[in-house]
Each structure stands twice: as structure tokens, then as C-alpha cells.
Symmetry: C2
Subunit: 241 residues, 2 copies
């Protein structure tokens, strides 16, 4: 099925990679506004419109680069997780989260790009959920959720009683839970997502410089957040290193 890599195929693949690298280089060195079709083409050594043979539009190039970032971040998290045995779920979850923040602060431009790049919500009908960008984003979320699911299987954590879970939350989460197809009750999924939102939201605010008016190093806040999350998930918090 995988087309035999003809000479042309290999060249094309190499150029595609080079283009994405150039785009990323421009982003990290000169900011997101510098990632223009023309500038990237110049960087690669081809002339403007030639780039349209590789990406149909500026938006598509942006999406491809975003997918790259998601994948790299996801890989970093998975790698950190796998450095700990499956029978110590707390260590695995903490390592995953810390790897996430570590990637975010060592790749601020890329992490901010993931956020600030236009995710205009669901205007284009059902959001083309098969685009590489969406797939990579999905995969990213799953790193966390899958671990909570594994945790639930062996060390179930307390969840709100059905009567304490707002009916609308249950209604909203039902389709998503079905789409996930995981063995996680709605209430547990809600707890997991709440934790995820706190983590992700904190990093978002850190990288978008919304907290620099008061804090310069958010690592202690992040660790406090992890402590809270461990408490919520009935895990033993362990400080880093």
C-alpha cells in the first residue's frame, strides 16, 4: 500500500520536511507573524509561489506545522511516561504532566502557536475532524486521558455522585465519551477533564504571558496544581527529581 518511494517521492518528502523546518525556524527566531509563505520559501531557497506545490494555502502550512508540534509534544509526554513502570501510575502521570510543562517552557513559541493559531471553533461544519492537525490534537489529549483511564481500572478515584453531577454535564459528555470508546464512566471522565483543564489552562496562561505581572517562574504553581490533581485522583504526590 505504501507507494514505493520513487526518487521524486523522496525528494518531495525531503522538501516538505525542509519547508516545515524553515517555518518553525522563522517562528522561533522571529515570531509567528514572520511565518509567511514568501519568507518560508525564501528560507528554503525556492521562490514564493513554488511553495503552493507543497501546501495549498498559508492556512494549510500553519496546520501542518501545528500538527508537528502536537506530535512532538505528545511524543515527549509518552517517552517520559514510559520511563516509569506501569505499576506506579502516579509516577507515570506526574512524569507525563511534567514533560508537558517542560516542553511548553522550552518551546514557548511552539506551544503558544498551538494555542494562538486560529482554532476558530466549529464554524466549518463539523470541524474537519480528519485533518492531521485535529488528529494530532486528539492524540495529545489522549495521552492524559488514557492514563486516567488506566488509573481508573486499577485504582478508582472518588467521583461526584450522579445527583451532584450537573445534568447538562452528563448530557454534554455522553457523545464525547461514546466517541472515545473508553471504559470510563461519565463522572470519572468529567473529573479527568477537570484536571486536564487546570493543567492545560495554567500552561496556556504561563506561555501567553498572562501571569508575568506577578510571577516569573511558574514551576512552583505547576507543582501545586499537580499536588491538587493527585489529591483529586487519589494518588500519592511525589516532588520532582
Amino acid at each position: 500500500m505504501t507507494a514505493q518511494t520513487s526518487r521524486r517521492d523522496r525528494l518531495r518528502r525531503a522538501t516538505l520536511a525542509e519547508i516545515r523546518e524553515a517555518a518553525r525556524r522563522l517562528l522561533t527566531t522571529q515570531g509567528s507573524a514572520a511565518v509567511t509563505i514568501n519568507a518560508v520559501a525564501r528560507e528554503v531557497g525556492i521562490s514564493g509561489p513554488a511553495l503552493y506545490h507543497y501546501f495549498a494555502s498559508h492556512e494549510e502550512l500553519v496546520a501542518a506545522v501545528t500538527a508537528d508540534f502536537f506530535q512532538e509534544l505528545t511524543t515527549a509526554m509518552r517517552t517520559a511516561r514510559d520511563a516509569h513502570a506501569p505499576d506506579s501510575p502516579a509516577a507515570r502521570l506526574l512524569a507525563t504532566c511534567r514533560a508537558m510543562r517542560n516542553w511548553a517552557v522550552t518551546h514557548r513559541a511552539e506551544f503558544g502557536w498551538i494555542f494562538a493559531s486560529p482554532v476558530p471553533g466549529p464554524p466549518p461544519a463539523d470541524q474537519r475532524s480528519d485533518s492531521p492537525r485535529s488528529l494530532a490534537g486528539r492524540d495529545f489529549e489522549l495521552v492524559f486521558l488514557d492514563q486516567v483511564e488506566a488509573l481508573w481500572a486499577t485504582n478508582p478515584f472518588p467521583v461526584p455522585e450522579p445527583e451532584d453531577l450537573a445534568a447538562s454535564v452528563r448530557a454534554q459528555l455522553t457523545p464525547y465519551a461514546a466517541e472515545l470508546g473508553r471504559e470510563l464512566p461519565i463522572a470519572a471522565l468529567h473529573v479527568a477533564l477537570s484536571c486536564w483543564i487546570r493543567l492545560y489552562g495554567l500552561l496556556c496562561m504561563e506561555v501567553l504571558n498572562q501571569l508575568s505581572f506577578a510571577y516569573s517562574d511558574l514551576e512552583p504553581l505547576f507543582e501545586e496544581c499537580l499536588r491538587d490533581i493527585c489529591h483529586t485522583l487519589a494518588l500519592d504526590y511525589q516532588p520532582p527529581n
Copy 2:
């Protein structure tokens, strides 16, 4: 001191207001990318470069509009707060926070603009902290912090022991506390900021559509967050309405 409003002054002021209104209209109807100098000028009825007599650059126009949004949001929060007597601090704080979310979801474009608009951190030396945009942003944060301070004065909430507060947090917060000049111990300030970060972060993620993959209506999540915050601040949570 206030210059007597000559005829020219009045006209200028009117044009300035009209320009900012036009910019906002373009933002809400066509998205942030549509807020260009040319488009705004067209909307107002003057021709491109004329707008440079009112704003020195596109960036400055963006900053002015951002300041407008901050002010409007701040006013909405203060108004909601003042609808409750000063002797029911819980009601005042809850009303403030709910007004914040209400403004955010009824003015998604504006709230997202506040976030996504380039706050490139502290590259320009000390961040020109006297720009209208920065002042308005400062004022916005104070709506929340001032209430926590008032709360602290009458109903002090539990704060972490000094030995539980990371030394670096204390070090980081000391200059900010001094700059605030409020009667709030560092530990209490830290608790207040943690609450603020959760609130603001949740709204940020909601408006930036980072949660739409699972939730469509985040109001219940916001109320859960408020419940947590009330618990942290030793307040009685009261459901809305």
C-alpha cells in the same frame, strides 16, 4: 488642567471614538484579521493614511481597542459587585466572577482578542507599564484582588504555612505585593492569585475553543470552579439566580 474643549478637540474626540467603534465592529462581524488600518478607515469614511493622525500605527490602534475592552469588562464586573451589600462578601465575589464570564461569553470576540492580541511578555524592557492598555489590564486584575483583600480584612481565609509556601513563590511575589501596596500577606496574595488563575484560565480556554471537543456549555464547569474557590476562601457558595 483639562484643556478647554475647543471645537477641534471635540471633533477629534468624536473621530477617535468612531474609529474605535469601527474597529470593534469589524472585529465582531469579521474576525480579528479584518481589523486593518485600511478597513477601519474605510468604515469610518476617511482614507487610509488619514487614520495615522489618530493612531501612530496598527499596533497602537489594537492597544487602544484592547484597553476599551478591558475597561468595559472591568465596569461590568464592578457594577455586578456593587449590586450586593458590602457586608456579604461572598455574594459580591460570586457576582463579580459571574459577570466576568457573562461578559466573556457574550463578547467572545472581544475577550479572545484580549488574550490573543500580542502580549509579547517583557521584551520591551519594562513593558511600558504606563500604556493605557497596561493600565486597563491592571485595573481589571484589581477588581478581583481588591475584593479578596477586603475579604481578608473581615473574614481571613486559611493560607499555607510559611514552610509550605515555596521560597521562590515568596521571592517572586514580594515585588508585586509591594507594587500593589495592599494589606495582603504574601501567602494570602498567593492564594488569591491561584483562584484568579483558575477562573481566568478556564475562561481563556473556553473562549479560545480549546474545550469544545468535549463540552459545549461550560457554565457548569465555571460554577464548579466557583464552588472550589469559595471553599478555598472560606466563603459560602451560592448558586446563581
